[in-house]
Symmetry: C2
Subunit: 332 residues, 2 copies
């Protein structure tokens, strides 16, 4: 990472996530391997179905923030949500019943949220909130997984900045594991495991930043180099219960974290993953929504597929130091 050299650990470390049963080997020696791959997406300057003016290349919009009076599925929008043309699940499917939507986050061809003005990022987060609220009110499905894939190594097939929402008829196993752990911790302590985690990480060397309403830190058992998590200080299971002030604050913080990542890694490849409660979860049940930024600098390989373990070449304490770095003023 430009301007930052990973300090070798004397030994690899085996770490377990404090909430779920997930293990990571932190091994700085792995970063010294001879070859690192750098694939990239073909440039799409010539044709991109997500650019303004190409609305006929996507299905009809489900939601758009657009200039007053501009007709649906034409130009004049800032954020546009459409059904995925290549859906992983469908409302009409008897087995993989669900919905798959794409959030086109800007009308011009930009690769990354971090390049948009902060006001645009606020609107992007507002579109996430509205679609999740829509499906929670709809009542037919169980869980909405919102995520972003940026760059080919992170699974993106198109370069233009976008997010996706896959709405499922059941609660996925990894989400269930978090819910079960939160419930167990609540039975034992009467407290939220994520509130406890956030409180202790604020005092740790993995602390990254606080904004008015949020805390960011590099998780103890980071699966990815430069991984960072963002938690709202106010306990709430549901992302879609975010207030306008919180939403705008979140947009600013996430944009800053992504810019910090991009300052160092030109055109970083990453996944952004929202963790929020199942639709039917009551606000009083123990869960605490949060966002994970997962930079993708290595490939999951045979070892990871066999064991479920991850190997991370950058100790989270060093990642946190990097994020705090000279950007302390702007991040805090």
């Amino acid at each position: 990472m430009a301007g930052f050299r990973v300090r070798p650990l004397p030994f690899p470390e085996l770490r377990k996530d404090p909430v779920v049963d997930r293990w990571v080997i932190v091994s700085t020696e792995r970063g010294g391997r001879p070859i690192e791959k750098t694939p990239s997406l073909p440039s799409q300057s010539s044709w991109c179905p997500f650019c303004e003016g190409q609305e006929h290349d996507t299905p009809g919009e489900l939601l758009a923030f657009r200039s007053p009076g501009s007709p649906a599925d034409g130009p004049g929008w800032w954020v546009r949500v459409v059904p995925n043309r290549f859906p992983a699940v469908r409302l009409t499917s008897p087995s993989a019943f669900g919905a798959h939507e794409v959030f086109i986050e800007c009308p011009r061809h930009e690769r990354d949220l971090a390049r948009l003005p902060v006001g645009s990022v606020c609107e992007v987060f507002e579109s996430y909130r509205q679609r999740l609220a829509f499906w929670r009110a709809d009542g037919r499905l169980a869980y909405g997984q919102l995520f972003k894939n940026v760059g080919a190594p992170a699974g993106a097939s198109l370069e233009h900045s976008h997010a996706q929402l896959i709405v499922l008829p059941m609660v996925p196993s990894d989400v269930r594991a978090e819910l079960d752990a939160a419930k167990q911790h609540h039975i034992e302590t009467r407290r939220c495991v994520f509130c406890d985690l956030m409180r202790s990480e604020r005092e740790s060397e993995r602390f990254v930043a606080r904004s008015e309403h949020f805390t960011a830190f590099a998780p103890y058992a980071s699966r990815f180099a430069w991984e960072v998590w963002v938690f709202p200080d106010r306990h709430d299971p549901h992302f879609d219960a975010i207030t306008p002030a919180e939403r705008d604050d979140l947009a600013g913080l996430v944009r800053l974290l992504l810019r910090r990542l991009g300052d160092a890694l030109p055109q970083p490849d990453y996944n952004l993953v929202l963790h929020t409660a199942p639709f039917s979860h009551s606000p009083h049940e123990p869960y605490h929504w949060h966002l994970e930024i997962l930079p993708r600098t290595t490939q999951a390989a045979g070892f990871e597929w066999g064991t479920g373990f991850a190997i991370n070449p950058v100790p989270p304490e060093q990642a946190a130091m990097f994020y705090r770095g000279s950007a302390d003023d702007s991040l805090c």
Copy 2:
């Protein structure tokens, strides 16, 4: 895939693995997305630390099959096992205690096992067996994960055909999940869950091939396009208990499956993952070793990291048909 066109399913399908709690969405529509990435490793024709004559570029050998009288760590070998220069775990580490070894599978620069003569592949499997037997006898560690990464999208950092063994002080969570499921099934039925699975898959449309001692099939909840599993007909928890006849038969079958994959996908990227019992597991406890071939044509992305679900664009029934295809004679 050349010569094979995936038939679209009328609907995406949600499938659960019959043994462990792992879900897959099989969605042929995902295969139609506009862009597929094709990164590749830099050619290493000029310099490769694994080629014969470069023995000084790797640590001293732990095991080698070499011509009689040729000195250790010099030329004259067919298979050579050395400590990994960039280990994920180490015997001297207080936390990530373990061992990390590399199997250099051929002296000449070949990308893939499938290109080697069948006798060489037998010796490669023999080297796997010997190192796993070594660590089982050693008694200090709990589990050996043997795997191959072929191609950059599968996590390889070097092109020259090689495998790796990571020996761990505990049983990884994904292996534990299989063991627990096997134990539960045994309590309920007094039978091995994998023997049952193999018996039923032999009669299914996911059947791929039988050799003298092995059965290959495309698993019902394949996480990857063209995924195929190989099970020994003889029930045994431990790979290192394989007989010479079984080992040679396995080498022939795996080589044929990889050639079949390579006939269609030029230079396929894949992981090969061995599932075997923990070292301390008694031969009478319910487990059944097997091999998984996991071709890597797509990237795990935000959805997969958030939910634990995989998305597979090729129905396993069609993958099996492809493997059986015109190669029926040579495979069976």
